[in-house]
């Protein structure tokens, strides 16, 4: 897995896009797949910024896997536990927002873990060959 830390603010979106594009190209995924991975990264990252209480100065993004399956991990350090995957369905009180709805539609799996005050979201995406 390759992993990189980014400052915990929206200015990190642009370097995250470059990080994803480099990995996708290096691993031989279709360049078009960067679009999907960028969307997953942004939606989870902005969800962390919006909802996680606490938070250190950085968030890490990890990428692993080869064609056709990519595994994406985002880790938010020194935060209280907040499990976005436990949100009620869209439309219910306190239900999931559009971003999480997109993540559920686009990814093949989503898993939340909370360890040592780190919130960790792991997504898998299998791209058609």
């Amino acid at each position: 897995m390759v992993e990189r830390r980014f400052p915990r603010n929206l200015g990190s979106l642009e370097p995250m896009v470059r990080f994803v594009a480099d990995y996708v190209r290096h691993k031989g995924f279709d360049a078009e797949h960067s679009f999907t991975v960028d969307l997953l990264v942004e939606e989870i990252f902005t969800n962390m910024l919006r909802h996680a209480k606490g938070g250190g100065p950085d968030v890490s993004v990890g990428l692993e896997g080869d064609v056709p399956e990519l595994v994406l991990t985002l880790r938010d350090y020194d935060v209280d536990s907040f499990d976005p995957t436990a949100a009620p369905p869209a439309g219910a009180p306190g239900g999931e927002g559009v971003g999480l709805r997109l993540v559920r539609r686009i990814s093949d799996s989503i898993r939340y873990e909370y360890r040592e005050r780190s919130a960790i979201i792991t997504l898998t995406k299998r791209f058609p060959l």
Binding site: L10, G11, F35, L39, E42, E43, V98, L102
Partner: protein, 94 residues
């Protein structure tokens, strides 16, 4: 990066990436629309939920003033984001 080109007649062209980092700037520019409007997405390469939110806010504001908003020339991958979000049934996509 996002380029926003406001043209006469209520036409706006968005070029690049409409993500959370660009959403506020897009929102401010789209607030200048005050009549029937068209947003041309021919050169939009990326949109996230933050960008969708800006477009929905613009749609609602114009609708409440009795005006229309049309989004045109969406690339298939951009259209798919609207569809996944269920917004193809809310917004006018051409």
């Amino acid at each position: 990066m996002l380029e926003i080109d406001v043209q006469p007649g209520g036409v706006v062209r968005l070029r690049g990436r409409l993500d959370a980092a660009q959403a506020d700037r897009a929102k401010d520019t789209l607030l200048t629309l005050n009549g029937p409007s068209t947003i041309d997405l021919t050169d939009l390469d990326y949109v996230s939920s933050a960008g969708l939110g800006v477009l929905v806010q613009t749609f609602k504001r114009l609708r409440d003033s009795g005006h229309s908003l049309v989004l045109t020339n969406l690339k298939p991958r951009i259209r798919s984001v609207f569809v996944y979000a269920g917004l193809d049934k809310v917004l006018r996509l051409e």
